[in-house]
């Protein structure tokens, strides 16, 4: 009963309605559709069957709404509660009020086709309703309807209500919402039809009149007003209409939300926009009421009309509500459900992944095992999966993700697509390659200003690259002008202050960003960082905890909490948090480094070495900037040194120094190792180098003094390096050695001491 997925078409996914094409021989000429293209929301209308030749040539260019995927309204009585479950699976299309005869009303529909013939002299002949409906919106009932449709093809009349529905629809398309609402209201008064109510509510919703929309949907449907029949056909239709209504009236007219899933969904949306979250949740149900239905079987089914499954959208909305109401576990569940039901639901994916609701491993498995193939055609499923893979967390599976991206670029020619580029930028960022990442994000933002995943990366890179601080300032200013309502804007402002080490100011703007969007992770983390950098460890921990609660899939907040505890010398607490972070993501080199430090503090040096080594090898796998991990090399050296493995320690320090030559700690530690191996003079030289980089280092100063004392006490002047053999003799008799002037070597200066 499900329509098979469309065969992959190279151009646009729009295909002519198979049954309507033969009935009308004409196709609209492409040249005339220039304006319509600009209006069309759905796929282009080039191939759509044209109405039988409008009389005025220019008219057809105006019928922009023909390609609108929400098809024309009609008095379809389909959305009925008893069909609710199947509706849910069929998605919005089912609800979209378009001229489609339901079995019960088949006798009176399909007027429009002939109407345009009849009213050919009208200024604006309506396009064929068939043309307005997307063929994708065909539903299982269509085939049966066709029969009736064909039978009634000869019907010549076009109801005024129908034409007004057309006005309403065009008005919506052209953003003339008041117009749409005005006429829609009239229509509803006449017909009392559920579809008309839905469309009116939709119009209200689009204008932001959520309360009105909500009322319309939730309150009991009014009786349709009786209207004087004007035309010959109209009376009949009205009668029939009432007849149908009457059938329902027997059961009592309920509110629309109880009759149609789509209406319920819209009503819930209205409530969400009015911030009535509890009510909305009540309307939607705390959990998926169709769970049993939607379980394994539903997941495997493709969406009947190839749109987005309405269930999926509802699950997504439910997830959003749970998020709002801070029940994160439920929210996550709902989003997962939404995505399982319909893999195309990108917003559910986005909430899950970008909101870090799942750990890296979890999301990898979840996204990998979605029912792509069952819901989509082979090509589509492959594409969607690749697309999603590129957006996953880059810590693990970096090769697979890279591979996916390469395939997208090569096979699907999306190498320049911003979303694919964001994947690249994200990967570069994860590798600590700020400059490269910045180049990519600049490219993205040049094309899509304010791209919401590229912009945070862009900002972070600007913070990291010192010379870009002033551009950061400029960008923040621009953002404030363009989009003062966005969390990102204030995050950018805060980041600028953050770069200038003005923690207090930075914090103010970060919290402003958080107020605007409490799910904006970067601002939370930065907010906590501003405390951490200021040395306010307790506050920092509190702030990190909040973000840990909000972003449960991310190990970063936990790790940061651990780091703060470590700074407060609360090793045990720190370890707990690190372990928790490890459970989420065990392959972050930074985390492993911290764990190594913990082990080191616990004097478990063997383990520390293991951790450091693993951290280094993982970092190598990441192929990022090697010098980022110089500190880990240094730590490894410390662990080896304490264990007395001086040679290994020396090698680790040397490695660290080759990566970051200005590392004073590594230098002084190397000096210590050198001193321990007995080479005091070399150690002194190294201490000097260390102190020349960090003149205030108390450790190095003390160690240097120790070394100097050792030198003074143990090495007498005869042991100086570079002394000629004679001078190095312990009991040298100055009178048995020839005077220097007789030696070949240089003469002794006779000049003043200080200057020559």
């Amino acid at each position: 009963m499900f329509t098979p997925p469309n065969p992959p078409s190279n151009s646009l996914t729009f295909t002519p309605a198979p049954t309507s094409a033969p009935t009308r021989g004409h196709r609209r000429l492409p040249a005339r559709s220039s304006l319509s293209n600009s209006f069309s929301f759905g796929p282009g209308s080039l191939d759509s069957p044209a109405p039988p030749l409008p009389t005025n040539g220019h008219d057809s260019s105006l019928d922009a709404s023909t390609s609108f995927s929400f098809s024309l309204p009609t008095r379809s009585h389909n959305p009925r509660l008893q069909h609710a479950s199947s509706q849910g699976n069929r998605g919005m299309a089912q609800v979209s009020p378009r001229p489609r005869p339901s079995p019960s009303s088949s006798s009176r529909t399909e007027v429009p086709k002939t109407r345009s013939k009849a009213e050919g002299s009208r200024l604006r002949p309506s396009p064929d309703p068939e043309a307005r409906r997307s063929p994708r919106k065909r539903n299982p009932g269509d085939d049966e309807m066709r029969g009736g449709e064909a039978a009634e093809d000869e019907e010549v009349d076009w109801d005024m209500v129908d034409s007004m529905r057309l006005w309403r629809h065009d008005a919506i398309m052209q953003h003339l919402y008041e117009t749409a609402a005005f006429w829609g209201n009239k229509i509803l008064s006449w017909t009392g039809d559920a579809n008309d109510a839905f469309w009116l509510a939709q119009t209200h919703f689009l204008t932001g009149h959520y309360l009105r929309a909500e009322r319309l949907l939730t309150e009991p449907q009014p009786q349709p007003g009786k209207r004087m029949s004007k035309g010959k056909g109209k009376g009949r239709i009205d009668e029939e209409d009432i007849g149908v209504r009457n059938g329902h009236d027997d059961m009592g007219r309920g509110s629309l939300v109880n009759e149609s899933l789509a209406c319920r969904y819209l009503a819930a949306q209205c409530l969400v926009h009015q911030e009535k979250y509890h009510e909305a949740l009540e309307l939607l149900g705390k959990s998926n009421p169709f769970k049993e239905l939607s379980s394994s079987e539903a997941i495997k089914q493709p969406s009947p009309d190839e749109g987005i499954k309405l269930y999926s959208s509802m699950c997504h909305l439910r997830g959003l509500l749970h998020l709002r109401l801070s029940s994160l576990a439920l929210a996550k569940e709902s989003f997962m459900e939404a995505l399982m039901l319909d893999v195309k639901n990108y917003e559910a994916f986005r909430e899950l992944i970008e909101g870090s609701m799942m750990s890296a491993q979890e999301e990898w498995e979840f996204v990998n095992n979605l029912a792509y193939r069952q819901q989509l055609s082979e090509e589509e499923s492959r594409f969607v999966k690749l697309m999603y893979l590129t957006k996953l967390n880059k810590d693990a599976h970096i090769h697979e993700i890279k591979h996916a991206r390469e395939e997208l670029s090569s096979t699907y020619a999306l190498s320049d697509n911003c979303d694919v580029l964001v994947g690249l930028a994200d990967e570069l960022y994860a590798k600590y390659r700020w400059e490269d990442c910045y180049n990519v994000t600049t490219k993205i933002l040049a094309r899509i200003p304010g791209h919401d995943t590229a912009l945070p990366l862009h900002l972070a890179c600007m913070h990291h690259i010192h010379r870009l601080r002033s551009s950061l300032f400029m960008l923040a200013h621009d953002l404030v002008e363009q989009d003062p309502q966005s969390a990102m804007t204030w995050y950018a402002v805060g980041l600028w202050y953050f770069s200038g080490k003005r923690w207090g100011d930075a914090r103010r703007y970060f919290s402003k960003a958080n107020l605007i969007d409490s799910r904006f992770a970067p601002a939370w983390i930065a907010f906590a960082h501003s405390f951490a950098y200021e040395g306010e460890h307790d506050h920092a921990i509190t702030a990190y905890s909040t973000s840990a609660r909000l972003f449960q899939g991310s190990h970063l907040p936990l790790m940061f909490i651990g780091m703060e505890h470590l700074q407060l010398s609360a090793s045990d607490l720190a370890e707990e948090y690190f372990r928790a972070a490890e459970a989420i993501n065990a392959s972050d080199p930074l985390l492993l480094n911290e764990l190594g430090v913990i082990a080191y503090n616990k004097e478990d040096y063997k383990n520390a070495v293991t951790y450091f080594k693993r951290s280094i090898s993982l970092a190598r796998e990441m192929q990022g900037v090697a010098s980022t991990w110089a500190v880990t090399w240094c730590n490894l050296g410390h662990a080896h040194r304490v264990m007395g493995e001086l040679e290994e320690a020396r090698r680790a320090y040397a490695q660290c120094l080759s990566m970051s030559p200005a590392n004073a700690t590594a230098l002084s530690s190397l000096a210590m190792v050198t001193q321990l191996t007995g080479n005091v003079r070399a150690a002194i030289k190294l201490y000097h180098q260390a102190l020349s980089l960090g003149p205030q280092d108390p450790m190095a100063t003390v160690l240097l003094e120790m070394a100097l004392r050792e030198q003074t006490e143990c090495l007498d002047p005869t042991t100086l390096p570079g002394l000629p053999g004679v001078l190095a003799q312990k009991d040298l008799d100055p009178f048995s050695v020839p005077k220097v002037s007789e030696l070949v070597l240089d003469l002794i200066p006779r000049c003043v001491l200080t200057k020559d």
Binding site: S627, S658, M659, S660, P661, A662, R681, I684, Q689, S692, L693, G694, P695, E705, L708, R709, Q711, T712, D716, P717, T718, L720, P721, G722, L723, P724, V726, L727, K730, L732, P734, F735, V737, K739, V740, S741, L743, V744, L745, D746, L747, I748, P749, R750, C751, V752, L753, T754, K755, D756
Partner: protein
Amino acid sequence: MATHTARVQIAHDIRRTVRELRDRGLLVSAKWASELLSSLAEDVRSAPHLPFSPPLQPHHMPTTSASPGPGPRPSIGEFLPSPGPGAFGAVAGPSRSMTSHGIEMEEEEDVLEEDEFQLARGYFDMKEFDRVVHTLQNAKGKRARFLRVYSAYLSADRKAQESLPHFLDTKEERLFLYPAITPLLDETASWSDDPYISYLRGILHMRIDQRHAAVECLVKSVTERPYNYSAWSQLAQLVNSADMFIELKEMLPSSVMLSFFAITVMLDLHTATDLVMNMIKELLEIFPHSVHLQAQRALVYYHMREFEAAERAFDEVRRLDPFRMEDVDIYSNMLYVMDRRAKLATLAHEYAEIDRNRAEVCCLIGNYYSSRNDHIKAITYFKRALLLNREYLPAWTLMGHEFVETKNSHAAIEAYRKAIDVNAKDYRAWYGLGQAYELLDMPMYAIEYYNQATSLRPYDCRMWSALAQVYENLQRLPDAIKSHVRALLGADRQQTPSILRKLADLHTTLSDGAPNADAVEYHKKLLALNTGTGGITEDIELADSYLAVAEWESTRGPATASAGGEVVGGGGGVGVVGGDMALAIRYLEKVAGMNCIQRDRAEDLLRELRLREATSAV
């Protein structure tokens, strides 16, 4: 020593190198190489070995264009490993072609990028380094690549210097420079087949203190392009001991430039001798007009402390090239040491006329002010020299000296440290550091720095004396004695007596003031030295020594037979077993006859001795 054709070949090689250097913005080297070229004999330079103005030829005919004239071609065979038209290419590098002017172009990319490259060169000449980097972003040619990285380095260097919060701060400079240099090294890692890139990598390694890698790169560079003098002089800076120099010499192919290098290194290591003089003479045969060599000769004289000869040589250099600024700073140092203030003043004024914005000239002026005891002004000029060239070693050391003069030990320490950063072989800076720390009462540090200075100048009395002094202050007398003994080796006539006296005193202190054989030994040396040379020292200063010897002789007088006395007596050179009473009495009488504080003690002893003599006689 070298045949005519070989010299012609040298001329050709230099000429080519000059052009390559100039293309790459290595101006100092280019200047040096051009000087060298012009110092060749006229006939060598004009010899038709190379086509200076061949007929116009297209780029893609490298083999034919290399030999336009039939004349001298075959003679190259004497010098080149594989003669023939192809040989030229083998020496000159891969895939050469000629421009329309008969100048070889290096690579195809270089030809293609000529316009961009010239644009970048223009920016480079205007010191707009970042702009060069930007212009050559995607350049592929070797020249352009080099210029880009070099400009990036210069830009980073300039920014690092501008970032300094304080003039003497070296830490900030490093912290700024290091992160900028590492990516450049990474970037050039795969291009090391280019000798100029190798040179640049050498410099970069040097800047981040990776000496081994630096030496490796520079050696590679000079092997392929020997006439890049900057590479040689950087390499010379890296040589920190004679052993290392010998080692390096083995690695390098022997060539004319190796001799130049050897001269520089030996001057640097303070081991300049007649050997160096001979090398200079040999080189002068090939490069008869080389002012550089003349100046080197002056430097060698200076290092050999033959100031008169050095002065003559310097004057000769000035006559040959009155506007030459190099080495004038060293000349001024020498004049300062010789205390030729008038000449120093003249020199300062004359060079200030020419160009006071040269580090060397600023240094000269600084020396001039210092000689007039105007230390503040001197410091100003040294600073100015350093602003012009932060790596200019002499100015750092001299500034350190001036800071010591103005009792600003901390500033002095910073200046010396920087000098050592630039060149760790500068014993004066080490010595200055030692002095400064001694003033700050941090003897252990002083010992360390004197140690360094001493290692560099093992026969220099001043270093050893200073070291001994610190040990003495630390009450480490055996070490002090050891140091003094070594100081004695390098001491001249003025210094020796005081060292001897010090040694004697130290030995006395070691034995708690009791007369002691070692001490007496040194006293005797002291007296012997005095009589031997006709008395430099006043007798009155030797009273102590006379007294000590007399006391020693007198105390062991009666106990002549004791074994200990014999040993010491044998060394004393008196040749008498037992106490030399006569000597003792003679010395005591001498002291008693002097107007000094020891007189009473001497008289007492004399009396006692006479008494003892009388009793023993009885």
